[in-house]
Subunit: 482 residues, 2 copies
């Protein structure tokens, strides 16, 4: 066996296969694709350059969508004084048990302890109270990119860590209708982003009361299905009514000169989206990245670099590709076999092989990461064919993920069937629900599933609640979730 092949063998063997141990496969990919490293800080991860470049691509594209819908970025303090956190009753109950407390500044004990923000509703409310007096000051459409801290017991890279990066939108409106419309608008932005940039199909819907954000009147969500059949909540958008405004005494003078409370929303997505991408598209060779967020969209691997003209031609191809995509040439001393494995592991959407015979024929061989398909492309058509192939990869990933989700979505008509599916068939379960918390709790207890959402697209599977058999109100998606 050649050294190169041995290297590839070694690299590939070092990932656990998905079927053998999905959790182990996942962390193997996170480490071997150099997305993260573990740190000396328990429960916190280091996001390495390749992982962070993915986040930068997510950020820049999502940020553009926020700005297009009229939102502005701001920055709030990372600390919340305890008294401020306590102002909204439900909110503090939800978050106080899992915050990190700062008690000392230098040598001195603080008069009032402060938590590191787990989310910033309280800080935004405190600020809104200061800057909003009249209907002319509304709406306020704010967003913040930052890190937050939640003291989780068990952690996992990207999916659940004590500190994570996110964006949190916070908006204030004159009317309930306007705030509700904003909540839905931002959920749609998230869904569009998931589909267009992450090639990830999502179910849009509203959470049950049990699964609502602490302090919200309604929580909307996009839910995705991972490769192992578990659901991943991938973005949420909350409607607060005027609850926070009342708790924080935010008031404004309306057009009729009355002092009234405004209405509020918040919405967030996190670095968890990177985990979603790994578990939606990845395979036993490693990461598979949707082109829109791939730090490298096409990598050129020259073959027989010692032959005259190969490196020169590769550099020429690189310069041309750079005008249409994020391209890289790997002209290092490693063997082609090693490079193939390396960029497969890193999920680069297209590999471009260029050898002496290809150059002679004025072509290159393009290999798709999503399905291994090889295409011979004329060097005269690079600038049109490569973007086409990137689009094809995106579509291929989306279609495959959608087909899998459809295949892994089951309908349940009664409790026994629900349990049987939950025990044996990983995936979404669609089932009717009467609306009672008791039934929701029972399904968790008996079948081990939680309600993912009441989807906007309703379909009547039966007239009766899957649990109690009484008249059903909604069809829900249920599942085991990250």
């Amino acid at each position: 066996m050649r050294r190169a092949d041995m290297a590839k063998e070694k690299l590939v063997k070092s990932i656990t296969s998905m079927d053998e141990d999905f959790a182990k496969w996942y962390t193997d990919v996170c480490i071997k694709a150099e997305l993260i490293d573990y740190s000396s800080v328990k429960g916190c991860m280091i996001i390495r350059p390749y992982g962070y470049a993915i986040w930068e691509n997510i950020q820049s594209q999502m940020d553009a969508m926020f700005k297009k819908t009229g939102h502005e970025n701001v920055y709030m303090p990372m600390f919340i004084p305890e008294s401020l956190l306590q102002k909204e009753k439900d909110h503090v109950e939800g978050f106080a048990p899992e915050v990190a407390w700062v008690t000392h500044g230098g040598e001195e004990k603080l008069e009032e302890r402060m938590c590191v923000r787990p989310t910033s509703e309280t800080l935004f409310c405190d600020h809104f109270k200061n800057i909003v007096q009249s209907y002319r000051d509304l709406p306020k459409l704010y967003n913040q990119w930052c890190s937050v801290v939640r003291w989780e017991k068990t952690t996992r890279p990207f999916l659940r860590s004590r500190e994570f990066l996110w964006q949190e939108g916070h908006t204030l409106h004159a009317t309930a209708e306007e705030a509700q419309a904003e909540t839905i608008q931002m959920l749609n932005v998230y869904a569009k982003f998931a589909e267009d940039c992450l090639a990830m199909p999502v179910v849009k819907g509203v959470k049950t009361a049990k699964e609502r954000f602490a302090g919200a009147e309604d929580t909307y969500t996009i839910e995705a299905l991972m490769h192992d059949g578990k659901a991943l909540q991938s973005g949420t958008s909350h409607y607060f009514g005027d609850g926070f405004a009342r708790a924080f005494e935010i008031q404004y003078t309306d057009k009729n000169n009355n002092l009234v409370h405004p209405f509020q929303t918040s919405w967030g997505t996190t670095t968890r989206l990177i985990g979603a991408v790994i578990m939606t598209h990845g395979d036993d060779s490693g990461l598979v990245l949707p082109p829109a967020i791939a730090p490298i969209q096409a990598v050129i691997v020259p073959i027989a670099t010692h032959k005259e003209g190969v490196l020169d031609k590769s550099r020429e191809v690189l310069e041309r590709l750079k005008t249409v995509c994020r391209a890289k040439l790997d002209d290092s001393e490693q063997s082609p076999g090693w490079k193939f494995a390396e960029y497969e592991m890193k999920g680069v959407p297209l590999r471009i092989e260029l050898g002496p015979r290809d150059i002679e024929n004025n072509v290159c061989v393009v290999v798709r990461r999503d399905n291994g398909e090889k295409t011979v492309v004329s060097l005269d058509e690079l600038e049109t064919r490569i973007p086409e192939l990137l689009n094809a990869v995106h579509k291929g990933l989306f279609d495959k993920a959608l087909a899998r989700r459809e295949k892994m979505t089951y309908d349940a008509h009664g409790l026994d069937e629900m349990k049987e599916i939950a025990d044996n068939k990983p995936g979404f379960i669609r089932a009717m629900w009467c609306g009672d918390r008791e039934c929701e709790d029972k399904l968790k207890e008996v079948a081990g599933v939680t309600s993912r959402c009441i989807p906007f697209e309703q379909e009547e599977i039966s007239g009766k609640c899957v649990c109690c058999g009484k008249e059903a109100k909604h069809m829900l998606y249920w599942g085991k979730a990250y």
Copy 2:
């Protein structure tokens, strides 16, 4: 007096004049230009949309310079376990007295308390130790955008706050020479950024041992002179030798198969740069922004909007301007006078007035924020003339700041003269120094000045130390500093 003029009058009157009280003028500008708001978190500020948009412009342009010089972004945890902070002796002594300590996660007391990062050398070292084994793994050229916390006693928006946004570069190299070259390269990047993007002249030099970063072998700095004659350290670049590598046991195998320590640098700039811009270019009408970082580079103020065609023409001009700069049309109901004052306060580089008579003549009137100069510009030449005028504003700002700095830089030849200048003439003082810490301390005690830097561009003012009269080693910049 017309209502519009009254409004303008009111707005302008509400800022304290620079000469009356510079500190008050500064905070007035921060608040009235809507850069910041105070928060309920003592010593922490809220960066409002207009202030944050300036930071975004700084970030994107500086980040591009970092990437061009081969640096990659990463994200480290925000917490540092106490034992990790203590590994490098000088470093912990410098920072421990001013960190915020997290002692509890939820209800539980932590086994080991952690501080919120005041800077991340220790975390990067801990990571480097993990990922660097061979000379092939070097160099590592990393940068991080994040917020840090230092428990300051007295705070001021942008200049000194308990939490601030910054970037911190951290690099690891095979040789001392390479690390030293990196330190200087990044100082030059900062100087170029200050001059090209902030229109702010800076003095480049090295800090004395007393003013060095905790743990560094050398600290390089760019020093700027503010309107009130105080110096502002605007960016620093540190050379660490292999001190941190030894403390953290970072080793790699070199080409000769020896296990050796690598060499390290770090470099940082902060939201303090926004403070520097305010105090370098601002005036009694408010903020004055250099075009490169201005969220709005040109604002169109239509005159007599009720007249037919004015708003239509304004919108047409806006669309055309958008192709060459960041333009805004203010078609709100406020009077032109109110708008003039508002955008002067916000430091918008160019105001474009467009009224019925202008439209008739196919021109607009362009007013420069930096010097009030009015130019009549043909509407046929908008796309070429506006960028030219923006360049003129940049050059005007830089030249004015440089001229002021030169006027406010004095040479001192002895201690009495030094004290006389320090007491009566705000600005930089250039004076010779023997190199002894004692003299440095005495100058602080007697004249109230600190050493700003030993500039790269040396000039022999006399042969003798300004303090002790012994043989001088260097010419230094001294001053009172923020």
